[in-house]
Symmetry: D2
Subunit: 110 residues, 4 copies
Amino acid sequence: MNNLDELMKRIDKFNKDRDWDQFHSPSNLSKSISIEAGELLECFQWNNDNYNLEDVKEELADVLNYCLQMCNVLNLNPIEIVNNKMDISEKKYPIDKARGVSTKYDKLKW
Amino acid sequence: MNNLDELMKRIDKFNKDRDWDQFHSPSNLSKSISIEAGELLECFQWNNDNYNLEDVKEELADVLNYCLQMCNVLNLNPIEIVNNKMDISEKKYPIDKARGVSTKYDKLKW
Amino acid sequence: MNNLDELMKRIDKFNKDRDWDQFHSPSNLSKSISIEAGELLECFQWNNDNYNLEDVKEELADVLNYCLQMCNVLNLNPIEIVNNKMDISEKKYPIDKARGVSTKYDKLKW
Amino acid sequence: MNNLDELMKRIDKFNKDRDWDQFHSPSNLSKSISIEAGELLECFQWNNDNYNLEDVKEELADVLNYCLQMCNVLNLNPIEIVNNKMDISEKKYPIDKARGVSTKYDKLKW
């Protein structure tokens, strides 16, 4: 299985089969994304460079899973919302101003 | 543009064009995922039900964007890691045990 | 033991005894605060109202512990920094404008 | 003002004056702690060592503020719950096993 649509359907079916939609309000999914993001961060808690790649994969998958479930619940296309945000970011961070600096857009020199 | 591979290439090019790969260690991307997950959570801070859908879309897109960038950096296929984790979850949460309850797998009755 | 100064010294001694100061950079402590905040949030993941108070106490204590350890490391007085921030908040949120609304200060009507 | 009891009363009065207790369920405060922890983490997003100390003070104060407000709402003594958790941690991490290693307690060699 190597297709995003199929994956989103699999996630939806997994939750419907367990009657879990009742728990998956956008608010609860947002909490879940934060919780899993914390577990991913734990892979790097005391050391930025030595991490267990298997743990990282699992925790990153959990974050992605809840993000895709939120897209299911809100009827959003994940590819579309990220592309829309990229359109915004490309304007906020023009290449010639932003190259090589991690400055936030509202502090970039124009 | 409606394809995950193309989106991941767009994200990669966006960062390479700005010479931002130097900032995008797995550890820094993990922090970024947590930070953006917090911003998404802010959409629901004081109210679980009334949220601004446009804000939710943008913040969810930011979380997804950094997750995909982490896949780029670690050379992971996002579809594959989520499917692998689904395989695990399907075993941890059998339908007949897990239906209708939000109990964590290690407290489910077997 | 019922005194904040003594508690901060206890935390400091706990870490020095274990030679853990090497891990406690401000950046790593900041990650730890986010990780523990995620564990606290997990107490409310699927239900806002039914929570296990003992779990909440432990996770809230973990967040506070790392916050106090960050004050130790940066030589900050926790009482003082919170009071300073309260001074700012009292100006940002005047009683007559902010009463009964959860509006963020930059959207309050002046 | 240099006393924890007085600070907690100040925070409580600040919220009562604005009729904000209605927003301050334990669940919403837990979300707020995660959100502010994310803002603190943002001080270290792209660089672990160069941070703006004034920003760190403000964001750390915000995390502490919501933690103390949660203690107010749940009628908890912050000093007591942290001391109780320290009692637990001292047993989980004996000095001779834990010295110099960041290993989690369930993986320490006994």
